[in-house]
């Protein structure tokens, strides 16, 4: 997708060590102009370090950063023309919106007339004209978010870098601000790189997501593709709420039929026999993955569905407003299922459990890579 024309940033075999601890390792990445790219991963996965290397706030131990084909690996931040939006926005609370916006231009010695023009222009595009003379601390949160973006955009950066900007907002507000951010990104058409540990944020905001684990790229793709085709066990267990159910199983063949087996629990997957055998190459152990929202109580249509040989027993019901999360025991495995909030499931209830065959995921037990 990244042809040379619209490629804005390129990372090449980027590596960063802090006192012998590897934070980022062998990272290659092309950022396309105009895209909203999310870096997603747990704390310590290297996502913020990567962002800071793009900003010039950290120097890579090895590898390179390019901006429009120009190598900027060792350029100081102020010579890179990238904009950084910090957590909590770090506005100057005692200053007016106007002063907040003008500040970055003043320190760059932009001519006063030009400052005024640029401040007003960016304010207009982010609907801040009416609050230009309000003090920052008096603003509501959604306006603060726009001021923080405007303050960074006023210097006309090539890319906007955002480091978990919504982290400290309470739930509810967070989702609202997230929607706002998406709206403004679409409106402005700017390239943004957004760091978060929250898969929901990454899934809803990103045009593409870079999932990181232990300093490396675990998967880079569109949210939809990552959800539907997680490349490995790590991504499968990180994406989705609740994340994908993963069950260790054994592959066996009986006559014409093929099964995934765990003690007395069996799943007939004969239609996938050829594919699985090719991928397993003689192995018999593998990991079965099914998303909680793809599980369903029976009865099932004949075609295209698979059913576990044992019934599921409801172990815990966790209502979540418009949904319910169920913990189910099936054989000795504990798995989760998501149903609608009005579905009347009770603790102790038993029912046949199955899912559409095309929703199956299988992972190699040692490489942890997806097999289908």
């Amino acid at each position: 997708m990244a042809d040379q024309q619209n490629m804005l940033i390129r990372l090449e075999r980027l590596r960063k060590e802090f006192n012998g601890v590897i934070a980022v390792e062998g990272l290659d990445l092309d950022v396309v102009e105009g895209e909203f790219l999310c870096f997603l991963g747990p704390s310590g996965c290297g996502k913020t370090t990567t962002l800071r290397m793009i900003a010039g706030l950290e120097t890579p131990t090895a590898g390179d950063v390019y901006l429009r084909g120009r190598r900027i690996t060792h350029l100081p931040p102020q010579q890179r023309n990238v904009g950084f939006v910090f957590q909590n926005y770090a506005l100057f609370w005692h200053m007016t919106v106007y002063e907040n916006l003008a500040f970055g231009l003043r320190v760059r010695n932009v001519a006063p007339a030009d400052i005024d023009h640029r401040v007003k222009e960016i304010a207009a595009s982010l609907e801040l004209t009416d609050v230009l003379h309000e003090r920052a601390r008096r603003l509501d949160l959604s306006t603060m978010q726009r001021v923080a973006m405007a303050r960074t955009l006023v210097t006309d950066p090539e890319v906007l870098l955002l480091d978990e900007p919504l982290n400290n907002f309470r739930p509810g507000l967070r989702e609202m601000m997230r929607g706002e951010l998406k709206r403004w990104q679409m409106h402005l058409g700017r390239t943004m790189i957004y760091v978060t540990h929250d898969q929901e944020e990454a899934m809803t905001l990103g045009d593409r997501i870079l999932v990181m684990n232990a300093g490396r790229c675990a998967q880079l793709d569109t949210p939809r593709h990552i959800y539907e085709h997680p490349a490995n066990l790590f991504v499968a267990s990180f994406i989705g709420r609740p994340p994908m159910n993963l069950i260790d199983v054994r592959y066996t063949v009986e006559g014409e039929k093929a099964f995934l087996v765990r003690d007395s629990l069996r799943l007939d997957i004969t239609p996938l026999r050829e594919k699985i055998e090719r991928a397993l190459a003689g192995e018999t152990q593998l990991v079965l993955g099914v998303r909680p929202e793809h599980l369903s109580p029976g009865p099932f249509p004949e075609e295209g569905w698979v059913q576990f040989s044992l019934p599921a027993v409801v172990d815990l019901v966790q209502p979540l407003a418009r949904k319910k999360f169920l913990d189910l025991k099936i054989g000795d495995a504990l798995i989760k299922m998501v149903v609608s909030g009005t579905a009347p499931f009770r603790q102790g209830e038993r029912f046949p459990l199955g899912f559409p065959l095309h929703r199956i995921h299988l992972f190699h037990p040692t490489t942890e890579e997806a097999m289908l």
Binding site: S43, R170, H197, R291, E293, L316, R322
Partner: protein, 363 residues
């Protein structure tokens, strides 16, 4: 373990009325949640129950016994705070065992109880280690273990999961629910996160500005919010609230908005205020065909895909934006013109002035 009764509790700090007449009852073995925005008075209420603050007036009874004037040490309650304080130079075992040692429980018995609690919290592997190297989630678990091991009459939890990573927070909320179901420990849990409250509590009390707004099960609070405050505080995205004019034609009411008219069925006796607010949850907005007489034409602004569904911002012709949650099987893209409707049975009505729910009489 015991029940708790809170009667007409007041507490102010200078000019700030932190708790303004709260009354509630928590049954023995119940998981009760105080839900509200920062500054609602949740933490103060917990501190009053624990005896860390003295109420201006009101009654606190635990297990039927009045706690007024009883020293915190003698109340037999445990509290877990947002910012966990563990003894850094003690192992997790010693941290958890501490309250039992204070009570001079025999060493053998301490060992048994600490291990039992540690198993429930999945932290047996941490018992010999010191907290310095623990992750946020591990620290919370140890603190929780220290509170649980005492088997207090009431366990008070003050936003114990805030500032954990989203994934760990969700895992821990699931574990805490499970733990409470297993132990039937009476718990009062304060949070500003409605999903936490809804996922764990048997009952929830929504508080705002030191006062009760609504109390009920998660389902009651979600499906029948009594005020617009509850409607928007509970649920993500929040319930759509659209101000309308209520007008009467013969014996039927209709709700009028530049973008739509909703004709209510004939109710016997119904008086509506002129200014009304139509509330509809995003997941109840339905896509319909252009020819549907109730169709509201909208433009798709933003699409946020989330698993097998999508959050879609829709602009009506007047510019009012509503959020809908649609299955992923409906293919919509920014710029598309589509038609939606608000299913009548899903609409919640509020008085435009008082912002209280208007209950429609049964037909």
């Amino acid at each position: 373990m015991a029940s708790a009764q809170i009667v007409n509790l007041f507490k102010s700090f200078g000019k700030v009325q932190a708790v303004a007449g709260l009354s509630f009852e928590v049954a023995d073995g119940e998981f009760f949640c105080l839900l509200g925005p920062p500054g609602a008075g949740k933490t103060t209420t917990l501190r009053l129950i624990a005896g860390l603050e003295k109420p201006d007036s009101g009654q606190i009874r635990l297990g039927g016994e009045s706690m007024n004037g009883v020293h915190p040490m003698n109340r037999d309650v445990a509290m877990v705070f947002e910012d966990v304080a563990l003894y850094p130079h003690w192992t997790a075992f010693d941290n958890i065992a501490h309250p039992l040692k204070l009570r001079k429980v025999p060493a053998q018995e301490i060992r048994r109880q600490v291990i039992e609690v540690a198993e429930m919290l999945h932290i047996t592997h941490l018992l010999d280690r010191k907290p310095g190297t623990f992750s946020g989630g591990e620290r919370r678990r140890v603190a929780l273990g220290r509170a649980l091991v005492r088997r207090p009459r009431v366990l008070l939890l003050d936003q114990p999961l805030t500032d954990l990573d989203a994934k760990i927070r969700q895992e821990m909320s699931n574990e805490l629910k499970r733990l409470q179901v297993e132990t039937r420990q009476t718990m009062i849990y304060a949070t500003h996160d409605f999903e936490e409250a809804v996922g764990m509590a048997d009952r929830i009390m929504v508080v705002n500005q030191g006062k009760e707004v609504q109390t009920g099960t998660a389902e009651e609070i979600y499906e029948t919010p009594q005020t617009t405050f509850v409607a928007t505080f509970v649920g993500t995205p929040a319930m759509n609230l659209i101000p309308c004019h209520a007008a009467q034609e013969e014996n039927r009411w209709s709700l009028r908005h530049p973008d739509f008219h909703i004709n209510l069925p004939a109710f016997g006796e119904l008086a509506l205020p002129q200014e009304a607010i139509v509330g509809i949850r995003p997941e109840h907005i339905a896509v319909t065909s252009e020819s549907d007489p109730r169709a509201i034409p909208v433009r798709v602004d933003i699409v946020q895909i989330l698993g097998d569904e999508q959050i879609v911002d829709l602009s009506m012709q007047s510019g009012v934006v509503v959020k809908a949650i649609l299955p992923l099987t409906i293919d919509v893209r920014p710029g598309d013109q589509i038609s939606i409707r608000f299913p009548l049975e899903r609409i919640v009505l509020f008085d435009g002035k008082s912002e209280q729910r208007i209950v429609l009489p049964a037909r």
